[in-house]
């Protein structure tokens, strides 16, 4: 009986504490005020593991068709480059203003080692999942609502090549006919 009472008391205290935090406005949600290291780590680990698990069974198609680079390039320029940058660019209004900061996809994965990307197939599957479904409360939209899988795979094919492109190559591949 004592244990039941203790559990009930703890539950009431937990709910009360949670409600106090929620309604007091004590949590600062400003994007220009970073999380503490612990909170950042908790959120980043949760996000990365969620993506890894969700994308593990995605079948990655052949991404070597040059035509994919043309379709994906044009879409990247209009939908992604503002936040995820392009060759020769190191920052933008969005890359500086968003929190968490969107990764710079114009540089190699080796240059942002805050999380594991897995092998090339795993990385492609994860990119596909993120582009299609987006990430809650991060500024990353779910492009799958308005773009079919083929178009998203084209973006993945382009993103795979992006770190090795020169600004001139990028301009040609992303230009509109």
């Amino acid at each position: 009986m004592k244990i039941v009472k203790l559990i009930l008391l703890l539950a009431v205290l937990g709910i009360g504490g949670g409600a106090t935090v929620m309604y007091s406005g004590i949590i600062n949600v400003a994007a220009d005020e970073p999380h503490s290291d612990l909170v950042y780590w908790l959120l980043a680990e949760t996000r990365e593991n969620s993506i890894k698990i969700a994308a593990q069974n995605i079948e990655v198609p052949d991404l070597s068709d040059p035509e994919l680079l043309l379709t994906g390039g044009a879409d990247y320029e209009f939908m992604c480059a503002t936040c995820h940058l392009k060759p020769g660019q190191s920052e933008s209004d969005m890359s500086l203003g968003l929190y968490p900061a969107p990764p710079n996809l114009a540089v190699s994965n080796d240059n942002h080692k805050d999380h594991e990307h897995g092998d090339a197939k795993q990385a492609a599957g994860q990119s596909f999942w993120v582009i299609k479904h987006g990430i809650k409360a991060s500024g990353m939209p779910a492009w799958g609502k308005t773009h079919d899988d083929q178009r998203i795979w084209a973006m993945v094919a382009f993103i795979k090549r992006l770190p090795k492109l020169t600004p001139e190559q990028y301009q040609i591949l992303t230009a509109i006919d």
Binding site: S64, D65, P66, E67, L69, L70, G73, F78, T82, S92, D93, R161, K164, L165, E168, Q169, Q171, I172, L173, A175, I176, D177
Partner: protein
């Protein structure tokens, strides 16, 4: 009348301030469709088995064809004659 003047002044200053509120680099917010700058393509270092090189070639060839179609009646021989005629007329003056 005084109230109307005050309202007009407030509206003018609000409009002026809102028009002046620009981001630091407005060009970064403009998305214009741009043609591929194919003259910057470095053919000497291109590996024609590389999908990037193939994609770039495809894009530039398509663009060149589209440019040709856009100017079907352009006869370069006639253009030269016209230029020569213009030059002659200028000489007359």
């Amino acid at each position: 009348m005084k109230t109307l003047t005050k309202i007009a002044l407030a509206m003018i200053s609000t409009l002026t301030l809102s028009l002046a509120a620009n981001a630091h680099d407005p060009s970064m917010h403009v998305k214009k469709a741009k043609k591929a700058n194919c003259s910057k393509m470095d053919h000497s270092n291109m590996d024609m088995n590389d999908p990037v090189a193939i994609a770039m070639m495809k894009k530039c060839m398509k663009q060149a064809e589209a440019d040709k179609k856009a100017m079907p009646g352009m006869a370069h021989s006639k253009m030269k004659k016209a230029e020569k005629k213009d030059a002659h007329n200028e000489h007359d003056h």
